[in-house]
């Protein structure tokens, strides 16, 4: 049984056919990397999984997306409930203009949790899981904007982890960061795998190779190849995949 499963998904931005017949399955507690040239639909696919595309006008979606075997586009699905289960980390760190503590507590508060000690415990644990605790434990009351870019991104990860989702979507989480912060986040992804199912978009081939179990290569709205990461990087079946991972285009 798969954690995430999409069957023949087509997505249109108005006239633009952005996703073409995408069928992907992802097992629980694995890391799946989505790679491919810019504009090929990686973010679009990722945002399909927590229904973020619903915010955009004129989006039309066909096909089925199942999470835990439930159609997330079925009628009567509560989108906010879905998003509590499917956390997301964005490309650019986007902390709220609030304190570090309040950033992490936000998801709990909007869930109606008000028990102070429980919130404190969860915030601490999330910051620890995001490998940020040691750096911020003395300044939880400071504005999140006082953190460095890498710290902000780990804060955003902590924020996503605080509501205990079972899936974490990451859209180029390290693209705006320096090598050291990037390494920290990669390490983190590796550790998070035990508890979460992770889907990560990345432009960095080494990163995909390092952190993921499975890799999907997207090309102009289609999935050209989807296989174990080792296979994709050592023995790609498709010529375009090979060209892309060897850096001949992209």
């Amino acid at each position: 049984m798969y954690k995430i499963e999409s069957k023949d998904v087509n997505l249109y931005y108005g006239e633009h056919h952005a996703l073409k017949n995408i069928s992907l399955q992802m097992k629980a507690n694995t890391v799946t990397a989505l790679i491919g040239p810019s504009g090929c639909g990686k973010s679009t696919y990722l945002r399909l999984l927590n229904r973020m595309n619903d915010l955009i006008e004129n989006v039309r979606i066909e096909g089925t997306v199942l999470i835990d075997n439930k159609d997330i586009y079925a009628r009567g699905i509560k989108i906010d409930e879905l998003r509590k289960k499917v956390g997301m980390v964005f490309q650019k760190p986007n902390p709220f203009p609030k304190t570090i503590f309040e950033n992490v507590a936000y998801g709990l508060r909007v869930n109606g949790i008000s028990n102070k000690s429980y919130i404190e415990e969860r915030v601490t644990r999330s910051l620890q899981n995001a490998a940020l605790w040691e750096e911020v434990k003395d300044k939880l009351k400071k504005s999140a904007f006082e953190l460095s870019g890498g710290q902000q991104q780990r804060l955003c990860i902590a924020r996503a982890l605080a509501i205990e989702p079972s899936i974490v979507l990451m859209d180029e989480p390290a693209s705006a960061l320096d090598p050291i912060s990037t390494a920290k986040i990669e390490e983190l992804i590796y550790e998070l795998k035990d508890k979460y199912t992770i889907v990560i978009v990345t432009h960095n081939m080494q990163q995909a190779a390092r952190v993921s179990d499975r890799t999907a290569f997207f090309y102009i709205g289609e999935v050209v190849e989807y296989n174990d990461t080792k296979e994709i990087f050592t023995n790609p079946k498709n010529q375009r995949t090979q060209n892309y991972i060897t850096g001949r285009f992209g």
Binding site: N50, M52, L55, E57, D80, E81, R83, K84, G87, M88, F90, K92, N94, P95, F96, P97, K98, Y106, G107, R109, V110, N111, C156, R159, A160, I163
Partner: protein, 412 residues
């Protein structure tokens, strides 16, 4: 050749721009100087008419009175010297035209004796006044200076000069009263304050709700229709609002609250609130829309509902823009003249409830400037009101400036 021409042309344009810029600045400065020099002329002057004095009996121990006290005395509201710091003696009013009241019955009945007392051409009037003042210990006489000769048996009562605190905190506004004009602007200040505050209390929630609706809830087509309509509201001349207020709001208030007149502070607040709405809506909506999409998405991705996102992320993020909109709205309300003049009833008294007539500063200036003679006290008092309005508006604009610069810092 062409090069030289375009160079000269460029120079001319530069000079013209420079000139128009400096001329405009100079004009603005001159207007401000003019306003304040006219407006400050009021202070240090006596509120009585030129050439008249207040005289009392020599035994009277009151040394000086202020304009408000004199006004109350001549209105018959203060009838005992005790009230103004004198001894216990009732006050007797004396004006030139009621001099015959002080004659005896027979003197008054007999035209000959009147002439004998006053003289054929009133040449004995000074002695007569002197005698009356001497005979009545409780008298206060308002007489022309020319009828006071050197043998005058009474003494002149000093009248306090108009001070800034009298002007700001005085409770009576009677700029054309006799024998003294009273310039207490407190009722006007409070009137302006009440009307503006309640206008904003009523307009802010409504405007904010509309802004949220337009920016976050409404379908784009609805928004595209609504936005120009609301901007159009800002362009309607204020007399039209005043007229609407007079025909619709005033009778409505009169009927609902069962009042003798519907022209009240409430009517002014409602009309001003409606007039401030476009400003508040447009600026708040812009502020709400500048909330970065990434903030909204971050909130939604954490499972927050749309409304939670609005209240917990979007509104805090745009709060300074919304504040600026509200303050600018108040600014418009404070300076508004015509519409308020038409619906507030224009009574220069301190309001105790919203259901009483009030009068605002701009309405006062507009209504009274026509009847005030140029250079006179009344005229100068109106200019002082203008200065106060100028200062208030300046503070409002400064506040907006500070708040929006803080906004920029947060955003960057």
């Amino acid at each position: 050749m062409k090069k030289i021409l375009s160079y000269i042309f460029g120079r001319i344009i530069t000079v013209l721009l420079y000139l128009s810029g400096s001329v405009t600045s100079i004009i603005v400065v001159l207007i401000v100087i003019f306003l304040f020099s006219e407006g400050s002329g009021l202070f240090g002057k006596k509120p009585t008419e030129e050439g008249f004095i207040m005289a009392v009996n020599k035994t009277n121990n009151v040394k000086h009175l202020d304009a408000e006290q004199i006004k109350l005395i001549f209105d018959g509201e203060i009838t005992n010297w005790k009230k103004v710091g004198g001894r216990n003696d009732s006050i007797i009013l004396f004006r030139m035209d009621n001099i015959t009241d002080f004659f005896t019955e027979e003197q008054r009945e007999n035209p000959d004796s009147v002439i004998k007392l006053l003289g054929e051409n009133y040449e004995r009037l000074p002695q007569c006044i002197s005698r009356v003042v001497e005979a009545n210990p409780g008298i206060i006489a308002f007489v022309g200076k020319k009828y006071i000769d050197k043998n005058f048996a009474g003494k002149e009562l000093k009248i306090d000069k108009i001070t800034i605190s009298d002007f700001l905190f005085g409770k009576l506004w009677f700029p054309t009263a006799h024998p003294v004009a009273v310039f207490g602007a407190l009722p006007l200040l409070l009137g302006t304050f009440w009307v503006s505050i309640f206008a904003i209390l009523f307009a802010l929630p409504l405007g904010l709700a509309t802004a949220i609706y337009m920016a976050e809830v409404a379908h784009p087509t609805v928004r595209n229709i609504l936005k120009p309509v609301i901007e159009l509201l800002a362009g309607i001349p204020s007399v039209v609002y005043g007229f609407f207020g007079l025909v619709v709001v005033v009778p409505f208030i009169q009927n609902t609250f069962n009042l003798p007149v519907g022209e009240t502070a409430l009517a002014g607040s409602i009309i001003l609130g409606i007039m401030a709405l476009p400003t508040i809506i447009t600026i708040s909506e812009d502020a709400i829309r500048t909330t970065p999409r990434s903030m909204k998405e971050a909130s939604l991705a954490l499972g927050a509902t749309h409304w939670q996102t609005i209240f917990k992320v979007i509104l805090p993020y745009s709060s300074s823009g919304i504040t600026a909109g509200a303050i600018l709205g108040i600014g418009r309300a404070i300076g508004e003249t015509m519409a308020v003049l038409m619906v507030t009833g224009n009574a220069a008294v301190i309001p105790h409830t919203l259901l009483e007539p009030v009068r605002t500063i701009p309405a006062t200036i507009a209504a009274e400037l026509g009847e005030a003679s140029q250079g006179g006290l009344h005229y100068e008092a109106l200019f002082t009101l203008g200065c106060i309005l100028f200062i208030i508006t300046m503070i409002v604009n400064l506040a907006v400036e500070i708040i929006s610069s803080r906004n920029k810092r947060v955003a960057s």
